[in-house]
Amino acid sequence: MAEEMKDLALEVKNLNIRFETDDETVYAVNGISFDLEKQKTMALVGETGAGKTTTVLSLLKLVQSPPGVVNADTLKVVGNDVMKMTATELEAMRGKDIAMIFQDPMSSLNPVMTVGEQIAESVMLHEGLDEKAAMEHAKEMLALVGISGDRVNDYPHQFSGGMKQRVVIAIALACRPSILIADEPTTALDVTIQAQVLELIKKLKDEYKTSTILVTHDLGIVAETCDIVAVMYAGKIIEYGSLEEIFNHTKHPYTEGLFNSLPVMGGDRSQKLKPIKGLTPDPSKIYPGCTFAERCPYATEKCTQGFPEYKKFGATHIVACSRYDEPDFHIERKEID
């Protein structure tokens, strides 16, 4: 048992996050649980408002409070309970055990500090290196992400968008964190630059043996970079499984809808896209049943009564859909309207 625990980089059980304001309460994350094994890459997939970013922010205890209220049975990062950490312990953990890459490279860099200083900053803090050694390290990190070490004294505005994101990656990896969280790391970038950055992240995560959570809405990126996929909808994980299970043996109607909505190059050009009807649910409401029921083409009366239990298929595939109570139910992965 103790041995098993060590293999987990992340352990999350029944995580709930809500935002309370005077006007309303927004339920962003509603009881999600997942484990992340070491050196694996998990994708957190979902649309705007699904609670992906809030979930990963809570792992670093970065959810603004107030208005945020975080509750969890377990929230462990490399075996340490984040919920019980003091402010000093949290600071020691962030950057060292768990590091984050944000979506917008333009705003996550400090414009008045050289990129070298920004990389050195966390190394000096966590590894206790002196300034000179830290700057040396910064040069190495820049070289690692494909930027010439000579540019260590340049300011962020002297770099292009893709280069800035590389700097951000260098900062995140400077202290060799065991867990890397990438929140839509390529959404702000062009496709050809996105390809470069994804290649870099893939290469580095192997080299550094980091466990990674990749937050994204792009299933194409997931297919290329991840081992495990968790699909989120309205603050809940509704399907979880290996890449193969999610992509080739899709079980949840929402995941199916996502695949059907995507324009895929190489598909049949005469066919039309099949969007999911309707909109994502209002996060300030509590739904008695399955949150996807009102958009789901397979929904029955039963779906609106109580959130479905998680059902396990095979070794790792977990699905939250009541229809699978019926033994012969299956989705068609074709037109829904």
């Binding site: 039309k272 309707g278 209002d282 409401k285």
Partner: protein
């Protein structure tokens, strides 16, 4: 296909509140602004009441030798009498009219002119902007007191001239504020969208740009009312504004100069009245700014 199905599906309820109600809701959240508004409402009620309760010739400017410089409480004069034996309370309440009139009118004039200058300068841009804004800056460079002295020297001391002088000195602030608000709007995408839809420049200015720069204008105006009332009092105190015996608060302060040491209540109460009014408008202005800022909503 998909577009037809959109109509039938369930959607989250839309907020039932209208925009006005939302602003009111937001405004009420700020305690200070509610207090400020209450202060102004009280001032208005009292000011209107005074117009009917007192007779201008006998109560307000008439001399009363029996009761010169009575202390507060003496002979039923709640806050005493001045050097002419006039009841301070009556004068003070009656004088509310002048302060509010000067504050609101001067601000209104400078707002209308300032908005026109600022909006046109920002929207048209180029040489027009440069010329207009340089002129405004020249106006701003002249010290306000000097400007007022010049105007009053040319046109004579009167309530009207004071209002004109104050309006003129308020224009630059308003014009610059409006220009700053319009500049980003001018390049906004919805203005470009309106152009693509064939909407004329004039209509874009009237229907898109001005309504969207309303918040800073309203806020600036409320705050300027307070500022204007204080400066009006200053000019009256200096003898450049409303002439005695009109019970303008600044003029009352000016009258009290000689007897201030022995009879401090002569300056304390008019001073408090000015403070009350200015504070009321400023507090309300702060609340309005928050209520009208869409970024602070939700």
């Amino acid at each position: 296909m998909s577009k037809k199905s959109e109509k039938t599906m369930a959607t989250p309820d839309l907020k039932k509140r209208t925009r006005g109600q939302q602003i009111w809701h937001q405004f009420c959240k700020n305690k200070g602004s509610v207090v400020g508004m209450a202060m102004i409402i009280i001032l208005l009620i009292v000011g209107i009441y005074a117009q009917f309760a007192y007779d201008y010739d006998t109560d307000i400017i008439g001399m009363n030798v029996d009761s010169i410089l009575l202390f507060p409480g003496q002979d039923g004069h709640l806050i005493g009498t001045d050097h002419m034996g006039r009841d301070m309370l009556a004068r003070l309440l009656y004088g509310a009219k002048y302060s509010i009139l000067i504050g609101v009118l001067a601000t209104a004039i400078s707002t209308v002119i300032g908005v026109a200058i600022g909006a046109i300068a920002a929207y048209v841009g180029g040489k027009v902007e440069t010329v207009m804004m340089r002129l405004v800056e020249i106006l701003m460079m002249i010290p306000t007191v000097l400007l007022t002295i010049i105007l009053v020297a040319v046109m004579g001391v009167s309530l009207n001239n004071l209002i004109w002088a104050l309006s003129l000195s308020g224009i630059p602030f308003m014009a610059r504020q409006v220009r700053a608000a319009v500049l980003p709007l001018k390049d906004s995408e919805f203005v470009e969208a309106a152009k693509a839809l064939g909407v004329s420049d004039f209509m874009i200015l009237m229907t898109h740009i001005l309504p969207n720069s309303l918040s800073p204008i309203i806020v600036q105006a409320t705050i300027r009312i307070g500022v204007t009332i204080v400066s009006a009092s200053v000019y009256s105190f200096l003898g450049l504004g409303v002439p005695s015996p009109t019970p303008e608060w600044g003029a009352m302060l000016s009258d009290a100069r000689v007897n201030m040491r022995q009879y401090p209540f002569l300056v304390i109460y008019p001073g408090l009245a000015i403070m009350w009014t200015t504070m009321g408008f400023n507090l309300m202005g702060d609340g309005l700014r928050d209520a009208l800022d869409p970024k602070l909503k939700k």
